[in-house]
């Protein structure tokens, strides 16, 4: 191999390596520059740690009642005060993080599974199948989602699994529509054409060429879906149809505290702030990921 003097093999390799930063490496670099998204990542990491720690240790037993005078505000023994049953609020917030994260992530797992399959079927095979799927998706967009989730939980029973199912039931179409749109656009691209003329089967085109290219928007959609699911669970709990007690849920804690808001606002404020911060972190992270993964859309 003839090369110009001074250009060693090593130099070529280094140059190539430098230019070929992957999409993900690029995205990570852009995400790190976004301070809000970075702060959100740190916050969410801490939240996950708290949820894990809560499994093994909380300052007090979360369901132990009367460990301090009821309605007592924050003190050194009870950093966030105690609630209307005299239970330690900090311990309950820690366990509530578990519920919120389980609901948020669990829902998205179902939403991704259903949305990807349905979206791919509609986008890749088009035709009659697409007509049916698109109609169903549009019907789901027209229904009052929260009310359907509420009714499902009421009819099927109150448990974490059913709540996750009910929320996913009202959210799958967001992912399905996104995957369908991506698939429709990607299947017309030249590289898919090339793969097809090379004799690739539908399976291979879908899993090797279409899905990997649709992954970015899907990740963004899932990140935005998590706070929506957490919000839904909080709504259900607030209305008394969430995770059954004594398992603490932020929504239910806020609902309990609301009755005593005049005398001890800390009971409602603690879960309200925890909830808002978590939702905010997910939303900022979602925004940051969108900007990082799709620089063309950058404002």
């Amino acid at each position: 191999m003839a090369t110009a003097p001074g250009i060693t093999e090593k130099f070529i390799e280094e140059t190539l390596a430098h230019e070929q930063t992957s999409l993900w490496g690029d995205a990570w670099r852009r995400l790190r520059r976004n301070r809000l998204a970075l702060a959100s990542t740190v916050f969410l990491t801490l939240l996950i740690l708290v949820a894990i720690v809560a499994q093994f240790w909380t300052p007090y037993t979360y369901y132990a009642e009367g460990i301090a005078p009821i309605y007592q505000g924050p003190s050194t023994q009870h950093l966030l005060g105690v609630d209307d049953f005299g239970r330690d609020i900090l311990s309950r917030i820690m366990l509530g993080a578990q519920v919120s994260l389980k609901v948020g992530i669990g829902t998205q797992v179902i939403v991704i599974a259903v949305g990807v399959v349905v979206g791919l079927l509609a986008g890749f095979y088009r035709g009659f199948l697409d007509t049916i799927i698109s109609t169903v998706i549009n019907i789901f967009y027209g229904i009052p989602d929260l009310l359907v989730a509420l009714t499902l939980v009421l009819l099927l029973g109150r448990s974490l699994g059913i709540i996750i199912f009910a929320i996913a039931f009202t959210q799958w179409m967001n992912m399905a529509r996104l995957v369908r749109g991506q698939t429709l656009a990607l299947r017309e691209r030249e590289f898919v054409e090339a793969a097809r003329s090379g004799g690739a089967k539908a399976n291979r085109i879908i899993f090797r060429h279409i899905l990997p290219n649709a992954l970015g928007p899907m990740i963004v959609q899932a990140t935005i879906g998590v706070p929506m699911a957490i919000l839904f669970e909080a709504f259900l709990s607030f209305l008394g149809l969430g995770v059954p007690p004594p398992t603490p849920s932020w929504g239910a804690m806020a609902a309990d505290g609301f009755h005593a808001i005049r005398i001890s606002p800390h009971i409602v404020l603690a879960p309200a702030i925890a909830l808002s911060l978590t939702l905010m972190a997910f939303n900022f992270l979602g925004d940051g990921l969108r900007d990082a993964l799709d620089p063309r859309q950058k404002r």
Partner: protein, 319 residues
């Protein structure tokens, strides 16, 4: 204002809405009667004779097909049946009365959503990448990250508790609903809590589409011929920037309908949302089915209104 074609289109849509309402109530009806928590049938009562009489009274002893036909006939006559819990209470007039209360709060919420959202969005776009923009953008993320019951709690603390303490009890907000029409403060505070999260979304959308529009040639032309920035923004740019905003008015109405379930409970407003929460917890299934039918009609009408709004805002669109 409407051409013959437009009227025909509206007529078609109205017929479609009737079908949607029947379809929705059928699905909920069959769902409620088929799913595990079967209506009244599974609930235990002490006296078998009384139970039989009760089931007979509500025609629940008939086969499902017959019950369904009865229900459909009722719906087509505008009769949603009778409450399972409060016997003798007819559902249609009850819901109509509550719908007016919800409409008052909902209208305030929509006014906040659109007014606040558009103003924030326009300001952020015009002052792009200044601290005003960052403030407006950050506020909007905070806005839609706060559940409406959190906003409600904060408003209640501010106006109900702190204002009471500061003014020595002279001026303060008290939740509830006096008389059949609410007073202004009874409408505005819940309306704000209901509308604020959506105002944030509207603000984001307005900002994005405004940024696109103000770079268009016709906006530059308008500026070049000597119009002031204010007039160009309001008369030329905003009108086109609002088109994507109109698109989300449909989902917005759904959001306000579902949000009202929480907000009306918090503020003690006797509207459809409170009725929904109460009847679903009481397992008053007839009212639940009726409410879903009602909501389906409201949402369908709102969507029709949105489609008609397009023609107003963009004259190229015709039906």
């Amino acid at each position: 204002m409407f051409t013959r074609g437009a009227l025909l289109y509206i007529g078609q849509r109205l017929v479609l809405i009737v079908f949607t309402a029947v379809a929705v109530s059928s699905i909920v009806f069959l769902g409620v009667h088929r799913l595990p928590g079967d209506a009244l049938l599974n609930e235990r009562r002490p006296d078998p004779a009384a139970e039989a009489a009760l089931l007979h009274y509500y025609h629940l002893d008939l086969p499902l097909a017959q019950q369904y036909v009865r229900y459909l006939t009722g719906i087509l006559h505008g009769d949603l049946g009778e409450s399972y819990v409060n016997r003798g209470v007819q559902i249609t007039p009850l819901l109509l009365r509550e719908a007016r209360v919800s409409a008052e709060v909902g209208a305030a919420a929509i006014a906040f959503t659109i007014g606040l959202g558009v103003v924030l969005g326009v300001i952020a776009a015009v002052r792009q990448n200044t601290w005003v923009d960052y403030l407006a953008t950050t506020t909007s993320v905070i806005g839609y990250s706060m559940p409406n019951f959190v906003i409600a709690s904060l408003l209640f603390l501010l106006f109900g508790v702190f204002l009471y303490q500061w003014t020595g009890g002279a001026v303060y907000y008290n939740s509830g609903w006096t008389g059949s029409w609410g007073t202004l403060d009874q409408i505005i505070v819940p309306g704000f809590a209901l509308g604020f999260p959506y105002a944030s979304i509207v603000a984001r959308l307005t900002r994005a589409s405004m940024l696109e529009v103000i770079r268009q040639d016709y906006v530059r032309t308008a500026r070049a011929k000597g119009l002031t920035a204010r007039i160009v923004i309001i008369r030329h740019a905003l009108r086109n920037a609002l088109i994507p905003v109109v698109t989300i008015l449909g989902p917005l109405v759904i959001g306000i309908v579902t949000g009202s379930v929480v907000i009306e409970n918090i503020f003690g407003i006797p509207g459809l949302g409170k009725e929904f929460a109460t009847s679903i917890l009481n397992r008053d299934y007839n009212i639940v089915i009726g409410l879903f039918t009602f909501y389906a009609i409201i949402i369908a009408l709102a969507n029709l209104l949105v489609d008609l709004l397009y023609t107003v805002i963009d004259p190229r669109i015709r039906y």
